[in-house]
Protein backbone atom coordinates (compact mmCIF):
# COMPACT_ATOMS: atom_id res chain seq x y z
CA UNK A 1 0.00 0.00 0.00
CA UNK A 2 2.96 2.28 -0.68
CA UNK A 3 0.96 4.58 -2.89
CA UNK A 4 -1.06 5.77 0.10
CA UNK A 5 2.07 7.34 1.56
CA UNK A 6 2.84 9.27 -1.64
CA UNK A 7 -0.61 10.00 -3.03
CA UNK A 8 -1.95 13.55 -2.67
CA UNK A 9 -5.25 12.31 -1.33
CA UNK A 10 -7.09 15.64 -1.41
CA UNK A 11 -6.65 15.72 -5.22
CA UNK A 12 -9.00 12.76 -5.61
CA UNK A 13 -10.93 11.91 -7.68
CA UNK A 14 -8.29 11.73 -10.43
CA UNK A 15 -9.08 12.39 -14.08
CA UNK A 16 -8.08 8.99 -15.51
CA UNK A 17 -10.88 7.11 -17.31
CA UNK A 18 -12.19 3.77 -16.02
CA UNK A 19 -9.86 1.02 -17.21
CA UNK A 20 -6.92 3.36 -17.87
CA UNK A 21 -3.49 1.83 -17.33
CA UNK A 22 -1.78 4.97 -16.05
CA UNK A 23 -2.64 4.26 -12.41
CA UNK A 24 -0.82 0.93 -12.64
CA UNK A 25 2.29 2.67 -13.92
CA UNK A 26 2.16 5.39 -11.25
CA UNK A 27 1.76 2.73 -8.58
CA UNK A 28 4.75 0.75 -9.88
CA UNK A 29 6.79 3.97 -9.98
CA UNK A 30 5.91 4.92 -6.41
CA UNK A 31 6.75 1.42 -5.16
CA UNK A 32 10.12 1.61 -6.89
CA UNK A 33 10.76 5.12 -5.51
CA UNK A 34 9.77 3.99 -2.03
CA UNK A 35 12.03 0.94 -2.23
CA UNK A 36 14.95 3.31 -2.90
CA UNK A 37 14.39 4.85 0.53
CA UNK A 38 13.88 8.25 -1.07
CA UNK A 39 12.06 10.85 0.99
CA UNK A 40 9.25 13.08 -0.20
CA UNK A 41 11.37 16.15 0.57
CA UNK A 42 14.19 15.15 -1.76
CA UNK A 43 12.15 13.80 -4.67
CA UNK A 44 10.62 15.86 -7.48
CA UNK A 45 8.19 14.65 -10.15
CA UNK A 46 8.16 16.57 -13.43
CA UNK A 47 5.82 16.08 -16.38
CA UNK A 48 4.68 17.64 -19.64
CA UNK A 49 1.13 17.69 -21.00
CA UNK A 50 -1.28 14.83 -21.61
CA UNK A 51 -2.98 12.10 -19.58
CA UNK A 52 0.31 10.61 -18.36
CA UNK A 53 1.62 14.01 -17.32
CA UNK A 54 -1.21 14.53 -14.86
CA UNK A 55 0.53 11.97 -12.64
CA UNK A 56 2.99 14.45 -11.07
CA UNK A 57 0.22 16.55 -9.53
CA UNK A 58 -1.26 13.56 -7.70
CA UNK A 59 1.92 12.89 -5.74
CA UNK A 60 2.57 14.72 -2.48
CA UNK A 61 6.05 16.04 -3.30
CA UNK A 62 7.30 19.15 -5.07
CA UNK A 63 6.24 18.78 -8.70
CA UNK A 64 6.34 20.63 -12.01
CA UNK A 65 3.49 20.03 -14.47
CA UNK A 66 5.07 21.89 -17.37
CA UNK A 67 4.42 22.67 -21.04
CA UNK A 68 3.80 20.14 -23.82
CA UNK A 69 6.89 18.08 -24.53
CA UNK A 70 9.26 20.10 -22.36
CA UNK A 71 9.47 18.09 -19.13
CA UNK A 72 13.02 16.88 -19.82
CA UNK A 73 14.61 20.36 -20.19
CA UNK A 74 12.74 21.57 -17.09
CA UNK A 75 14.10 18.51 -15.25
CA UNK A 76 17.58 19.31 -16.56
CA UNK A 77 17.43 22.78 -14.98
CA UNK A 78 16.23 21.39 -11.64
CA UNK A 79 18.80 18.58 -11.51
CA UNK A 80 21.79 20.73 -12.50
CA UNK A 81 20.88 23.32 -9.86
CA UNK A 82 20.39 20.82 -7.03
CA UNK A 83 21.94 17.41 -7.65
CA UNK A 84 20.72 16.16 -4.28
CA UNK A 85 17.15 16.12 -5.60
CA UNK A 86 15.92 12.85 -7.12
CA UNK A 87 14.17 13.74 -10.36
CA UNK A 88 11.55 11.55 -12.02
CA UNK A 89 9.75 12.54 -15.23
CA UNK A 90 6.32 11.29 -16.33
CA UNK A 91 5.53 11.65 -20.00
CA UNK A 92 3.62 9.99 -22.83
CA UNK A 93 4.08 8.99 -26.46
CA UNK A 94 2.76 12.27 -27.88
CA UNK A 95 4.49 14.42 -25.26
CA UNK A 96 7.89 12.75 -25.50
CA UNK A 97 8.14 11.22 -28.98
CA UNK A 98 6.36 13.95 -31.01
CA UNK A 99 6.53 17.50 -29.64
CA UNK A 100 9.29 16.66 -27.17
CA UNK A 101 11.32 14.40 -29.46
CA UNK A 102 14.32 16.71 -29.67
CA UNK A 103 14.45 17.15 -25.90
CA UNK A 104 14.40 13.36 -25.45
CA UNK A 105 17.33 12.92 -27.83
CA UNK A 106 19.40 15.58 -26.07
CA UNK A 107 18.47 14.37 -22.59
CA UNK A 108 19.80 10.95 -23.61
CA UNK A 109 22.90 12.46 -25.24
CA UNK A 110 23.75 14.50 -22.14
CA UNK A 111 22.96 11.46 -20.05
CA UNK A 112 21.45 13.76 -17.44
CA UNK A 113 20.79 11.85 -14.20
CA UNK A 114 17.00 11.61 -14.30
CA UNK A 115 14.54 8.74 -14.75
CA UNK A 116 11.85 9.11 -17.39
CA UNK A 117 8.69 7.00 -17.29
CA UNK A 118 6.94 7.14 -20.66
CA UNK A 119 3.35 5.88 -20.69
CA UNK A 120 2.83 4.89 -24.32
CA UNK A 121 -0.87 4.36 -24.99
CA UNK A 122 -0.50 4.72 -28.79
CA UNK A 123 -2.74 7.77 -28.87
CA UNK A 124 -3.42 11.35 -27.76
CA UNK A 125 -5.90 10.56 -25.01
CA UNK A 126 -6.41 13.99 -23.43
CA UNK A 127 -7.52 15.61 -26.70
CA UNK A 128 -9.86 12.79 -27.61
CA UNK A 129 -7.97 10.14 -29.54
CA UNK A 130 -5.70 11.47 -32.28
CA UNK A 131 -2.87 9.51 -33.89
CA UNK A 132 0.61 9.71 -32.34
CA UNK A 133 4.11 8.72 -33.53
CA UNK A 134 3.51 5.30 -31.94
CA UNK A 135 0.03 4.59 -33.35
CA UNK A 136 0.42 1.16 -35.04
CA UNK A 137 -0.08 0.84 -38.79
CA UNK A 138 -3.74 0.49 -39.67
CA UNK A 139 -5.06 1.65 -36.29
CA UNK A 140 -8.06 3.93 -36.31
CA UNK A 141 -7.87 7.28 -34.54
CA UNK A 142 -9.76 10.55 -35.09
CA UNK A 143 -6.93 11.86 -37.28
CA UNK A 144 -6.28 8.54 -39.03
CA UNK A 145 -9.89 7.67 -39.88
CA UNK A 146 -8.75 5.38 -42.73
CA UNK A 147 -6.05 3.70 -40.65
CA UNK A 148 -2.64 4.98 -39.54
CA UNK A 149 -0.19 4.91 -42.41
CA UNK A 150 2.99 6.47 -41.03
CA UNK A 151 5.87 4.36 -39.70
CA UNK A 152 6.15 4.39 -35.90
CA UNK A 153 8.96 5.50 -33.63
CA UNK A 154 10.69 2.78 -31.68
CA UNK A 155 11.23 4.89 -28.56
CA UNK A 156 13.61 2.46 -26.85
CA UNK A 157 15.89 2.02 -29.88
CA UNK A 158 15.95 5.81 -30.23
CA UNK A 159 17.01 6.29 -26.59
CA UNK A 160 19.73 3.62 -26.87
CA UNK A 161 21.12 5.23 -30.02
CA UNK A 162 21.02 8.69 -28.42
CA UNK A 163 23.10 7.56 -25.44
CA UNK A 164 20.89 6.84 -22.40
CA UNK A 165 22.52 4.68 -19.72
CA UNK A 166 19.44 2.56 -19.04
CA UNK A 167 16.53 1.75 -21.36
CA UNK A 168 13.75 -0.78 -20.77
CA UNK A 169 10.23 -1.49 -21.98
CA UNK A 170 7.41 -3.31 -20.22
CA UNK A 171 3.64 -3.11 -20.21
CA UNK A 172 0.87 -2.52 -17.70
CA UNK A 173 0.45 -6.32 -17.61
CA UNK A 174 4.06 -6.93 -16.46
CA UNK A 175 3.83 -5.07 -13.16
CA UNK A 176 6.53 -7.02 -11.33
CA UNK A 177 9.05 -6.67 -14.14
CA UNK A 178 8.10 -3.03 -14.59
CA UNK A 179 8.64 -2.23 -10.92
CA UNK A 180 12.08 -3.84 -11.05
CA UNK A 181 12.98 -2.02 -14.25
CA UNK A 182 11.96 1.35 -12.78
CA UNK A 183 14.02 0.62 -9.69
CA UNK A 184 17.03 -0.22 -11.85
CA UNK A 185 16.43 3.05 -13.71
CA UNK A 186 16.34 5.01 -10.47
CA UNK A 187 19.57 3.31 -9.31
CA UNK A 188 21.45 3.87 -12.56
CA UNK A 189 23.41 7.13 -12.71
CA UNK A 190 22.59 8.99 -15.94
CA UNK A 191 19.53 9.05 -18.15
CA UNK A 192 17.09 6.18 -17.67
CA UNK A 193 14.06 5.65 -19.85
CA UNK A 194 11.39 3.11 -19.03
CA UNK A 195 8.76 2.88 -21.75
CA UNK A 196 5.52 1.38 -20.51
CA UNK A 197 2.86 0.25 -22.95
CA UNK A 198 -0.53 1.00 -21.40
CA UNK A 199 -4.10 0.34 -22.37
CA UNK A 200 -6.34 3.26 -23.30
CA UNK A 201 -9.74 1.58 -23.65
CA UNK A 202 -11.57 4.90 -24.01
CA UNK A 203 -9.75 6.39 -26.96
CA UNK A 204 -7.62 3.65 -28.50
CA UNK A 205 -9.40 0.40 -27.63
CA UNK A 206 -12.87 1.66 -28.43
CA UNK A 207 -11.94 2.35 -32.05
CA UNK A 208 -9.75 -0.70 -32.53
CA UNK A 209 -11.78 -3.71 -31.40
CA UNK A 210 -10.13 -3.63 -27.98
CA UNK A 211 -12.91 -1.88 -26.13
CA UNK A 212 -12.76 -4.32 -23.22
CA UNK A 213 -9.91 -3.58 -20.80
CA UNK A 214 -9.13 -7.26 -20.41
CA UNK A 215 -8.86 -7.63 -24.21
CA UNK A 216 -6.36 -4.79 -24.36
CA UNK A 217 -4.23 -6.13 -21.54
CA UNK A 218 -4.34 -9.55 -23.24
CA UNK A 219 -3.19 -7.84 -26.44
CA UNK A 220 -0.22 -6.32 -24.60
CA UNK A 221 0.62 -9.65 -22.97
CA UNK A 222 0.33 -11.76 -26.12
CA UNK A 223 2.32 -9.44 -28.35
CA UNK A 224 5.19 -8.93 -25.90
CA UNK A 225 8.37 -10.87 -26.70
CA UNK A 226 11.54 -10.74 -24.60
CA UNK A 227 14.06 -8.46 -26.25
CA UNK A 228 16.72 -11.20 -26.21
CA UNK A 229 14.49 -13.51 -28.25
CA UNK A 230 13.32 -10.66 -30.46
CA UNK A 231 16.92 -9.73 -31.30
CA UNK A 232 17.85 -13.36 -31.94
CA UNK A 233 15.02 -13.75 -34.45
CA UNK A 234 15.92 -10.46 -36.10
CA UNK A 235 19.63 -11.33 -36.37
CA UNK A 236 18.82 -14.73 -37.90
CA UNK A 237 16.31 -13.20 -40.32
CA UNK A 238 13.56 -15.32 -38.83
CA UNK A 239 9.95 -14.18 -39.14
CA UNK A 240 8.46 -12.20 -36.26
CA UNK A 241 4.66 -12.31 -35.96
CA UNK A 242 2.96 -9.06 -36.91
CA UNK A 243 2.23 -6.75 -33.99
CA UNK A 244 4.96 -8.29 -31.81
CA UNK A 245 7.09 -5.88 -29.77
CA UNK A 246 10.17 -6.42 -27.64
CA UNK A 247 10.05 -6.08 -23.85
CA UNK A 248 12.85 -6.17 -21.30
CA UNK A 249 16.12 -4.37 -20.86
CA UNK A 250 17.43 -2.71 -24.03
CA UNK A 251 20.61 -1.32 -22.54
CA UNK A 252 22.33 -0.95 -19.18
CA UNK A 253 25.67 0.81 -19.22
CA UNK A 254 27.72 3.29 -17.24
CA UNK A 255 28.80 6.01 -19.66
CA UNK A 256 29.75 9.33 -18.04
CA UNK A 257 26.63 11.09 -16.84
CA UNK A 258 25.65 14.68 -16.04
CA UNK A 259 24.19 16.01 -12.78
CA UNK A 260 24.97 12.94 -10.66
CA UNK A 261 24.84 13.42 -6.88
CA UNK A 262 28.35 13.87 -5.45
Amino acid sequence: MTYRDWWREDRLPHIFCPGCGNGTIINCTLEAVDSMGWEKDDTVFISGIGCSSRASGYISTDSLHTTHGRAIPFATGVKLTNRDLNVVVFTGDGDMAAIGGNHLIHGCRRNIDITVICMNNYIYGMTGGQGSPTTPAGALTTTTPYGASEPVFNICDLAVAAGANYVARWTSYHVKELREAIKTGLETPGFSLIETLVQCPTNFGRRNKLRNVQDMIDYLRKNAMLVRKYRELTENHRPIPEGTFAVGEFVRRSKPAMGVKE
Binding site: R8, D10, R11, K40, D41, D42, V44, I46, S56, G57, S60, T61, D62, S63, L64, H65, T66, T67, R70, I72, P73, F74, A75, T76, G77, V78, K79, L80, T81, N82, D84, L85, N102, H103, I105, H106
Partner: protein, 365 residues
Amino acid sequence: MKTEFLLGNIACAEGALAAGCGFFGGYPITPSTEVAEHMARALPKRGGTFIQMEDEIASMASVIGASWAGARAMTATSGPGFSLMMENIGYAVMTETPCVIVNIQRGGPSTGQPTLAAQGDMLQCRFGSHGDYSIVAISPSSVQEMFDLTVRAFNISDMLRIPVFLMADESIGHMRESITIPEDVERTERKGLKEGYRPFEPEDDMVPGFSVFGSGDAVPVTGLTHNDNGYPDATNYSTHDRLVRRLYNKVESRRHELADYDVRNPEAETVFISYGAPSRTVMQVLHDHPGGDIGHLNIRTVWPFSEKMLEEFPDAKTFLVPEMNLGQISREIQRHTDIDVVPVSKLGGELHTPGELVKAMGAVI
Protein backbone atom coordinates in the same frame (compact mmCIF):
# COMPACT_ATOMS: atom_id res chain seq x y z
CA MET B 1 34.82 49.69 -6.93
CA LYS B 2 36.69 49.27 -10.18
CA THR B 3 36.59 50.75 -13.65
CA GLU B 4 36.58 48.51 -16.67
CA PHE B 5 36.31 48.95 -20.41
CA LEU B 6 33.71 46.40 -21.43
CA LEU B 7 31.51 45.18 -24.25
CA GLY B 8 27.81 45.76 -23.48
CA ASN B 9 26.97 42.07 -23.57
CA ILE B 10 29.83 41.26 -21.18
CA ALA B 11 28.72 44.05 -18.82
CA CYS B 12 25.30 42.38 -18.80
CA ALA B 13 26.89 39.03 -17.86
CA GLU B 14 29.01 40.77 -15.18
CA GLY B 15 25.86 42.37 -13.79
CA ALA B 16 24.21 38.96 -13.61
CA LEU B 17 27.22 37.51 -11.79
CA ALA B 18 27.26 40.43 -9.36
CA ALA B 19 23.56 39.81 -8.71
CA GLY B 20 24.36 36.20 -7.77
CA CYS B 21 23.03 34.49 -10.91
CA GLY B 22 23.76 30.78 -10.47
CA PHE B 23 22.29 29.33 -13.63
CA PHE B 24 22.44 30.24 -17.31
CA GLY B 25 20.63 28.11 -19.89
CA GLY B 26 20.93 29.36 -23.44
CA TYR B 27 21.42 28.82 -27.13
CA PRO B 28 23.84 30.73 -29.39
CA ILE B 29 22.31 33.54 -31.39
CA THR B 30 23.68 36.73 -32.86
CA PRO B 31 23.94 39.41 -31.47
CA SER B 32 23.52 38.07 -27.91
CA THR B 33 26.09 35.27 -27.89
CA GLU B 34 28.77 37.08 -25.87
CA VAL B 35 26.48 37.00 -22.84
CA ALA B 36 26.37 33.18 -22.99
CA GLU B 37 30.10 32.91 -23.76
CA HIS B 38 31.01 35.04 -20.75
CA MET B 39 28.69 33.05 -18.48
CA ALA B 40 30.18 29.79 -19.84
CA ARG B 41 33.63 31.01 -18.73
CA ALA B 42 32.63 32.55 -15.42
CA LEU B 43 29.82 30.47 -13.91
CA PRO B 44 31.64 27.13 -13.39
CA LYS B 45 34.42 28.95 -11.48
CA ARG B 46 31.83 30.26 -9.06
CA GLY B 47 30.04 26.97 -8.50
CA GLY B 48 27.21 27.93 -10.83
CA THR B 49 25.86 26.10 -13.86
CA PHE B 50 26.11 27.02 -17.52
CA ILE B 51 24.35 24.81 -20.01
CA GLN B 52 23.91 25.17 -23.74
CA MET B 53 20.52 23.69 -24.47
CA GLU B 54 19.21 22.19 -27.72
CA ASP B 55 17.08 25.24 -28.54
CA GLU B 56 15.55 28.33 -26.94
CA ILE B 57 12.41 26.43 -25.90
CA ALA B 58 14.59 24.12 -23.80
CA SER B 59 16.72 27.06 -22.61
CA MET B 60 13.70 28.79 -21.13
CA ALA B 61 12.48 25.49 -19.63
CA SER B 62 15.85 24.85 -17.95
CA VAL B 63 15.90 28.38 -16.53
CA ILE B 64 12.48 27.90 -14.94
CA GLY B 65 13.50 24.50 -13.54
CA ALA B 66 16.68 26.04 -12.10
CA SER B 67 14.68 28.85 -10.50
CA TRP B 68 12.42 26.37 -8.70
CA ALA B 69 15.52 24.51 -7.53
CA GLY B 70 16.67 27.76 -5.91
CA ALA B 71 19.01 29.51 -8.36
CA ARG B 72 18.83 33.03 -9.70
CA ALA B 73 18.49 31.99 -13.32
CA MET B 74 18.70 33.71 -16.69
CA THR B 75 18.96 33.32 -20.45
CA ALA B 76 19.97 35.64 -23.28
CA THR B 77 18.74 35.63 -26.85
CA SER B 78 17.58 37.67 -29.82
CA GLY B 79 14.49 37.81 -32.08
CA PRO B 80 14.14 34.27 -33.45
CA GLY B 81 15.10 32.71 -30.12
CA PHE B 82 12.83 35.14 -28.31
CA SER B 83 9.90 33.89 -30.39
CA LEU B 84 10.68 30.30 -29.36
CA MET B 85 10.81 31.29 -25.69
CA MET B 86 7.29 32.70 -25.66
CA GLU B 87 5.71 29.35 -24.74
CA ASN B 88 7.64 28.93 -21.50
CA ILE B 89 7.61 32.66 -20.71
CA GLY B 90 3.85 32.24 -20.36
CA TYR B 91 4.52 29.27 -18.08
CA ALA B 92 6.86 31.42 -15.93
CA VAL B 93 4.13 34.06 -15.66
CA MET B 94 1.43 31.54 -14.72
CA THR B 95 3.62 29.69 -12.21
CA GLU B 96 5.11 32.94 -10.83
CA THR B 97 8.68 31.82 -11.45
CA PRO B 98 11.38 34.49 -11.07
CA CYS B 99 13.77 34.60 -14.07
CA VAL B 100 15.59 37.10 -16.27
CA ILE B 101 15.44 37.10 -20.07
CA VAL B 102 17.92 39.26 -21.95
CA ASN B 103 16.96 40.18 -25.52
CA ILE B 104 19.70 41.84 -27.56
CA GLN B 105 17.30 42.98 -30.28
CA ARG B 106 18.09 42.66 -33.97
CA GLY B 107 16.09 43.44 -37.09
CA GLY B 108 13.06 41.25 -37.75
CA PRO B 109 10.68 39.74 -38.73
CA SER B 110 12.13 36.23 -39.07
CA THR B 111 15.90 35.95 -39.56
CA GLY B 112 15.93 39.60 -40.60
CA GLN B 113 19.16 41.45 -39.78
CA PRO B 114 21.15 39.26 -37.39
CA THR B 115 24.02 41.73 -36.95
CA LEU B 116 22.15 45.02 -36.76
CA ALA B 117 20.22 46.85 -34.07
CA ALA B 118 16.45 47.20 -33.74
CA GLN B 119 13.76 47.70 -31.12
CA GLY B 120 11.15 45.59 -32.86
CA ASP B 121 10.40 43.24 -29.96
CA MET B 122 9.05 45.82 -27.51
CA LEU B 123 5.44 44.70 -27.96
CA GLN B 124 6.41 41.03 -28.19
CA CYS B 125 8.05 41.14 -24.75
CA ARG B 126 4.85 42.63 -23.33
CA PHE B 127 2.25 40.60 -25.21
CA GLY B 128 4.07 37.72 -26.97
CA SER B 129 2.78 34.76 -25.01
CA HIS B 130 -0.93 33.90 -25.11
CA GLY B 131 -3.43 35.08 -22.52
CA ASP B 132 -3.62 38.17 -20.31
CA TYR B 133 -0.66 39.02 -18.14
CA SER B 134 1.88 41.72 -17.42
CA ILE B 135 5.66 41.74 -17.08
CA VAL B 136 8.49 44.20 -16.44
CA ALA B 137 10.77 45.25 -19.30
CA ILE B 138 13.76 47.54 -18.88
CA SER B 139 15.90 49.09 -21.59
CA PRO B 140 19.55 50.10 -21.18
CA SER B 141 21.10 52.84 -23.30
CA SER B 142 24.72 52.45 -22.18
CA VAL B 143 27.19 49.75 -21.19
CA GLN B 144 26.96 50.94 -17.57
CA GLU B 145 23.21 50.37 -17.72
CA MET B 146 23.75 46.89 -19.19
CA PHE B 147 25.39 46.11 -15.84
CA ASP B 148 23.13 48.12 -13.52
CA LEU B 149 19.82 47.17 -15.10
CA THR B 150 20.69 43.46 -15.20
CA VAL B 151 21.09 43.63 -11.42
CA ARG B 152 17.79 45.50 -11.20
CA ALA B 153 16.11 42.90 -13.42
CA PHE B 154 17.01 40.12 -10.98
CA ASN B 155 15.77 42.12 -8.00
CA ILE B 156 12.40 42.97 -9.56
CA SER B 157 12.04 39.38 -10.75
CA ASP B 158 12.54 37.97 -7.25
CA MET B 159 10.40 40.66 -5.62
CA LEU B 160 7.37 40.09 -7.87
CA ARG B 161 7.99 36.46 -8.93
CA ILE B 162 7.81 37.34 -12.62
CA PRO B 163 9.97 37.03 -15.72
CA VAL B 164 11.81 40.34 -16.20
CA PHE B 165 13.11 41.37 -19.62
CA LEU B 166 16.30 43.29 -20.30
CA MET B 167 15.39 44.73 -23.71
CA ALA B 168 18.71 45.91 -25.13
CA ASP B 169 19.68 46.05 -28.79
CA GLU B 170 22.66 45.14 -30.94
CA SER B 171 24.24 48.60 -30.77
CA ILE B 172 24.31 48.67 -26.95
CA GLY B 173 25.22 44.98 -26.72
CA HIS B 174 28.20 45.42 -29.02
CA MET B 175 29.34 48.83 -27.77
CA ARG B 176 32.44 49.20 -25.60
CA GLU B 177 32.49 51.80 -22.85
CA SER B 178 34.14 52.38 -19.50
CA ILE B 179 31.94 51.35 -16.62
CA THR B 180 32.16 51.36 -12.85
CA ILE B 181 31.65 48.01 -11.17
CA PRO B 182 30.76 48.36 -7.48
CA GLU B 183 32.12 46.04 -4.76
CA ASP B 184 28.62 44.93 -3.88
CA VAL B 185 25.24 45.35 -5.47
CA GLU B 186 21.91 45.69 -3.74
CA ARG B 187 20.04 42.42 -3.65
CA THR B 188 16.33 41.86 -3.02
CA GLU B 189 15.77 38.28 -1.89
CA ARG B 190 12.72 36.22 -2.73
CA LYS B 191 10.50 36.08 0.27
CA GLY B 192 9.88 32.58 1.62
CA LEU B 193 6.59 30.81 2.15
CA LYS B 194 5.13 32.08 5.43
CA GLU B 195 3.85 29.69 8.10
CA GLY B 196 0.18 28.92 7.51
CA TYR B 197 0.19 30.17 3.90
CA ARG B 198 -0.57 27.90 0.98
CA PRO B 199 2.04 27.77 -1.84
CA PHE B 200 0.20 30.14 -4.19
CA GLU B 201 -1.71 32.15 -1.61
CA PRO B 202 -0.88 35.82 -2.13
CA GLU B 203 0.12 38.02 0.77
CA ASP B 204 -1.18 41.60 1.00
CA ASP B 205 1.32 42.66 -1.69
CA MET B 206 -0.36 40.20 -4.12
CA VAL B 207 2.82 38.06 -4.25
CA PRO B 208 2.87 34.54 -2.72
CA GLY B 209 5.93 33.43 -0.76
CA PHE B 210 8.29 31.13 -2.66
CA SER B 211 9.16 27.64 -1.48
CA VAL B 212 12.31 26.32 -3.14
CA PHE B 213 12.10 22.64 -4.20
CA GLY B 214 13.41 20.39 -1.47
CA SER B 215 12.09 22.58 1.37
CA GLY B 216 9.44 20.05 2.37
CA ASP B 217 6.40 22.09 1.37
CA ALA B 218 5.37 19.69 -1.44
CA VAL B 219 4.54 22.48 -3.88
CA PRO B 220 2.59 21.36 -6.96
CA VAL B 221 3.46 23.71 -9.81
CA THR B 222 1.26 23.75 -12.91
CA GLY B 223 0.60 25.98 -15.89
CA LEU B 224 -3.08 25.14 -15.59
CA THR B 225 -5.35 27.62 -13.84
CA HIS B 226 -4.84 26.73 -10.19
CA ASN B 227 -6.09 27.63 -6.74
CA ASP B 228 -3.97 28.84 -3.81
CA ASN B 229 -2.88 25.25 -3.11
CA GLY B 230 -1.46 25.06 -6.62
CA TYR B 231 -4.12 22.51 -7.52
CA PRO B 232 -5.61 22.65 -11.04
CA ASP B 233 -9.04 24.29 -11.07
CA ALA B 234 -9.27 25.04 -14.75
CA THR B 235 -13.03 24.96 -15.22
CA ASN B 236 -13.84 27.32 -12.35
CA TYR B 237 -14.70 30.79 -13.71
CA SER B 238 -13.91 32.67 -10.53
CA THR B 239 -10.59 30.90 -9.87
CA HIS B 240 -9.36 31.89 -13.30
CA ASP B 241 -10.66 35.45 -13.04
CA ARG B 242 -9.07 35.96 -9.63
CA LEU B 243 -5.72 34.41 -10.62
CA VAL B 244 -5.27 36.23 -13.91
CA ARG B 245 -6.32 39.60 -12.48
CA ARG B 246 -3.82 39.15 -9.66
CA LEU B 247 -0.99 38.18 -12.05
CA TYR B 248 -1.78 41.30 -14.05
CA ASN B 249 -2.34 43.67 -11.14
CA LYS B 250 0.69 42.69 -9.10
CA VAL B 251 2.72 44.29 -11.91
CA GLU B 252 0.40 47.00 -13.28
CA SER B 253 -0.56 48.40 -9.88
CA ARG B 254 3.15 49.02 -9.25
CA ARG B 255 3.77 50.86 -12.50
CA HIS B 256 4.60 54.16 -10.80
CA GLU B 257 6.92 52.68 -8.18
CA LEU B 258 8.71 50.63 -10.87
CA ALA B 259 9.09 53.70 -13.10
CA ASP B 260 12.74 54.54 -13.79
CA TYR B 261 13.49 57.51 -16.01
CA ASP B 262 15.39 60.80 -16.46
CA VAL B 263 13.82 64.18 -17.18
CA ARG B 264 15.72 66.94 -18.94
CA ASN B 265 14.32 70.43 -19.52
CA PRO B 266 10.84 69.87 -18.09
CA GLU B 267 9.62 73.34 -19.24
CA ALA B 268 10.15 72.49 -22.90
CA GLU B 269 7.29 72.46 -25.39
CA THR B 270 8.96 69.98 -27.71
CA VAL B 271 9.89 66.79 -25.92
CA PHE B 272 11.68 63.68 -27.07
CA ILE B 273 10.64 60.43 -25.42
CA SER B 274 13.06 57.56 -25.91
CA TYR B 275 14.50 54.38 -24.41
CA GLY B 276 17.54 52.31 -25.32
CA ALA B 277 19.92 53.33 -28.12
CA PRO B 278 17.89 56.28 -29.52
CA SER B 279 18.28 58.00 -26.12
CA ARG B 280 21.94 58.54 -26.97
CA THR B 281 21.08 60.45 -30.14
CA VAL B 282 18.55 62.56 -28.26
CA MET B 283 21.23 63.43 -25.70
CA GLN B 284 23.48 64.55 -28.52
CA VAL B 285 20.71 66.80 -29.89
CA LEU B 286 20.22 68.38 -26.44
CA HIS B 287 23.97 68.85 -26.17
CA ASP B 288 24.11 70.55 -29.57
CA HIS B 289 21.09 72.77 -28.79
CA PRO B 290 21.61 74.17 -25.30
CA GLY B 291 19.00 76.57 -23.96
CA GLY B 292 16.35 74.30 -22.56
CA ASP B 293 13.96 74.44 -25.52
CA ILE B 294 14.06 70.72 -26.09
CA GLY B 295 12.87 68.29 -23.44
CA HIS B 296 13.86 64.67 -23.00
CA LEU B 297 12.18 61.83 -21.19
CA ASN B 298 14.63 58.92 -21.11
CA ILE B 299 12.77 55.79 -20.03
CA ARG B 300 14.48 52.77 -18.50
CA THR B 301 11.40 50.88 -17.24
CA VAL B 302 9.38 50.65 -20.44
CA TRP B 303 6.86 48.08 -19.16
CA PRO B 304 4.72 48.53 -17.17
CA PHE B 305 4.32 52.00 -18.67
CA SER B 306 3.83 54.70 -16.05
CA GLU B 307 1.70 57.44 -17.61
CA LYS B 308 2.72 59.78 -14.78
CA MET B 309 6.09 60.22 -16.52
CA LEU B 310 4.32 62.35 -19.14
CA GLU B 311 3.18 64.80 -16.42
CA GLU B 312 6.81 65.79 -15.89
CA PHE B 313 6.42 68.02 -18.96
CA PRO B 314 3.43 70.28 -18.14
CA ASP B 315 4.06 72.65 -21.08
CA ALA B 316 4.62 69.98 -23.69
CA LYS B 317 2.93 70.53 -27.05
CA THR B 318 4.56 67.67 -28.93
CA PHE B 319 6.08 64.36 -27.94
CA LEU B 320 8.56 63.07 -30.51
CA VAL B 321 9.30 59.37 -30.10
CA PRO B 322 12.38 58.09 -31.93
CA GLU B 323 12.31 54.30 -32.04
CA MET B 324 14.04 51.64 -34.10
CA ASN B 325 10.66 50.16 -34.99
CA LEU B 326 7.43 51.40 -36.59
CA GLY B 327 6.16 53.12 -33.47
CA GLN B 328 5.62 50.40 -30.89
CA ILE B 329 5.95 52.52 -27.74
CA SER B 330 4.72 55.77 -29.31
CA ARG B 331 1.37 54.03 -29.63
CA GLU B 332 1.42 53.31 -25.88
CA ILE B 333 2.27 56.95 -25.16
CA GLN B 334 -0.51 58.19 -27.44
CA ARG B 335 -3.16 56.33 -25.48
CA HIS B 336 -2.25 58.23 -22.29
CA THR B 337 -2.27 61.80 -23.63
CA ASP B 338 -4.12 64.33 -25.77
CA ILE B 339 -0.84 65.94 -26.81
CA ASP B 340 0.44 65.15 -30.31
CA VAL B 341 2.66 62.07 -30.31
CA VAL B 342 4.89 61.84 -33.38
CA PRO B 343 6.71 58.58 -34.03
CA VAL B 344 10.18 59.03 -35.52
CA SER B 345 10.71 55.55 -36.84
CA LYS B 346 13.93 54.22 -38.21
CA LEU B 347 14.44 50.73 -39.59
CA GLY B 348 17.45 49.08 -41.16
CA GLY B 349 19.81 48.74 -38.26
CA GLU B 350 21.39 52.18 -38.25
CA LEU B 351 20.90 54.49 -35.27
CA HIS B 352 19.04 57.80 -35.72
CA THR B 353 21.43 60.63 -36.51
CA PRO B 354 21.15 63.92 -34.60
CA GLY B 355 20.34 65.57 -37.94
CA GLU B 356 17.37 63.29 -38.46
CA LEU B 357 15.97 64.16 -35.06
CA VAL B 358 16.48 67.89 -35.63
CA LYS B 359 14.70 67.54 -38.96
CA ALA B 360 11.82 65.69 -37.31
CA MET B 361 11.63 68.49 -34.76
CA GLY B 362 11.55 71.09 -37.53
CA ALA B 363 8.67 69.33 -39.20
CA VAL B 364 6.43 69.66 -36.16
CA ILE B 365 7.32 73.16 -34.95
